[in-house]
Amino acid sequence: MSLAFSLSGQVGQCRLQVQAQLAATGVTVLFGPSGSGKSTLLRMLAGLQDCDGEVRFGEQLWQTDEVKLPPWERPLGMMFQEPTLFRHLSVRGNLTYVMKRRGKAGDLNRVVNQTRIEALLDRSVATLSGGEAQRVALARALLAGPELLLLDEPLSGLDHGHKQELLGMVSEIARRVPVIYVTHDLDELLTLSRQVWLMEQGRIVASGKAHEELSRLDGPLAQRGDATALLYGELGDYDSQDHLQAVTVAQQTFWLPAAQPVAGDEPVRLRIAARDVSLCRQTPQDSSILNIHPVQVVGLREVGPGQAMVQLALGDQRLLARISSRSARELEVFPGAQLYAQVKAVALG
């Protein structure tokens, strides 16, 4: 299934002009600062916001110059920033509202289990906490039997624990239903995304694989103070004495602190923040840092007064290091230089 659109419209002071297509699988994160038009684009895709242009989802034409499919005829599930549960209905009433109206109603029991809301079914929506309400909203979106899920910053306002719980559910759901996920939170991008659209001032300025966009020096993500690279690796041995898990990236072994062996067989994602990487000419002796790997400089760029971002190749993967401009000069950091990267912290993402 693929989604392709070319849309333009005016909302208040903000002009939106976007064009993109994607093979709709997994999570695509629509990322950008507040006010860049992410939510508006999502509303346009849902048919809630008037705009000109075309939207095509697989074989279905959702919008052309002649026809505009109304929201209730688009096979979508949607979550807004606020849970927006129907206030006059119970939790169960909210769920059956959707099931009654969507022909191919989803499986209530399965969705209720998946979102862990069994205990909430007979509650009034006014009594739910923020996390509970968003889980109900997610269940309601799933019960629409959607072919595409549009999630508009669904985790804003939730605490860390509830965020992680919902992020896990979204990842799980995205195995079956393509998800477009709006956020301005880098952490959510790193957790969820294989595919990212970057939005600025009403336009999609870049789109591509998340790990490539994250490390692109001329892109907006590498300019950030919290710029982070995403690497893919294979799980290796577990050192039960020191509680360290090995992950192999491009024939190099990274050691991660882990209380117990990490399970799973897929390629695992490693997040490495640019500020946690330092560079040196020789292999340092007697360092407390576990992860020191030979890298080649691909490029560098000033990202602030006296600050440089260095893109490094580790095999065919990319790492970022944020160092001072003085260090860059003294170390003779230039494209092609062979250096060692000392990685202070690695997280599984």
């Binding site: 809630l48 929201p71 209730w72 599930g77 927006t84 129907f86 006059h88 969507r102 006014a126």
Partner: protein
């Protein structure tokens, strides 16, 4: 307790109040929705006209209604289907007068209730598969139920309390246009204070009960499920 004439007058009052309120609820639903959701040129003027019965002396309203409903107005033309010369001094005429007189009391609560419904709720219903009419019945009306209760009670109460307009266009025909408030006035005019006391007491108690029920229900609603 009450004499037969007063019971009849009370019945006419109640019938008038119920008929008027039912018609007004149906009439004001689309009108209030439109006023709450749209911003169009001339809307302020329209709203001012609709609110006029709140400030205008009822006798002024009654006078104009008399002209409109009378044999030389449009009312006279419509009256020919009822084999009458005029709609004034008929129950139909009273209903028309009451519709105008009580309209703002039904319109305002509905308008406020509709305006309080978040647009997001409607958007969410739309992406949940609900068409516009479906949304109106499955979401707007249930969420505006307090507004409907208030509108209904105020509509009934205000129509029961009608006096000036009825006096101008009603004519006090027993069983047809003599309502309780006019009957009370006639008792006082005739110096029949005993009957006046009884009728006044019934009207007073009925009004208090109605408003008490409304406020009690509203308190319960706000204390209960609705945030």
């Amino acid at each position: 307790m009450l004499n037969d004439g007063d019971w009849l007058a009370l019945w006419v009052s109640i019938k008038l109040a119920l008929v008027t309120t039912v018609i007004l609820l149906m009439l004001c639903t689309p009108l209030a929705w439109w006023l709450a959701r749209r911003r169009l040129p001339g809307q302020a003027l329209l709203e001012a006209l609709l609110a006029l019965p709140l400030v205008l002396p009822p006798s002024v309203l009654g006078f104009y209604l008399l002209i409109v409903l009378g044999p030389n107005g449009p009312g006279g033309w419509f009256a020919q289907w009822e084999d009458a010369r005029s709609l004034a001094f008929s129950f139909t005429g009273l209903v028309i007068g009451s519709l105008v007189y009580s309209l703002p009391f039904v319109l305002q609560p509905l308008k406020n209730a509709f305006a309080a419904i978040e647009p997001r709720q409607l958007d969410m219903a739309a992406v949940s598969g609900a068409r516009p009419m479906d949304r109106f019945f499955s979401l707007v009306i249930p969420q505006a139920r307090q507004g409907y209760a208030t509108a209904a009670i105020l509509g009934i109460a205000h129509t029961l309390g009608e006096f000036g307009v009825v006096l101008m266009i009603g004519g006090s025909l027993a069983g047809e246009t003599r309502v309780a408030s006019v009957a009370l006035y006639e008792h006082v005019e005739a110096g029949d204070y005993a009957n006046a006391h009884r009728l006044a007491a019934v009207l007073l108690v009925a009004s208090v009960l109605m408003l008490w029920a409304l406020f009690r229900w509203q308190r319960k609603q706000t204390a209960g499920v609705l945030p």
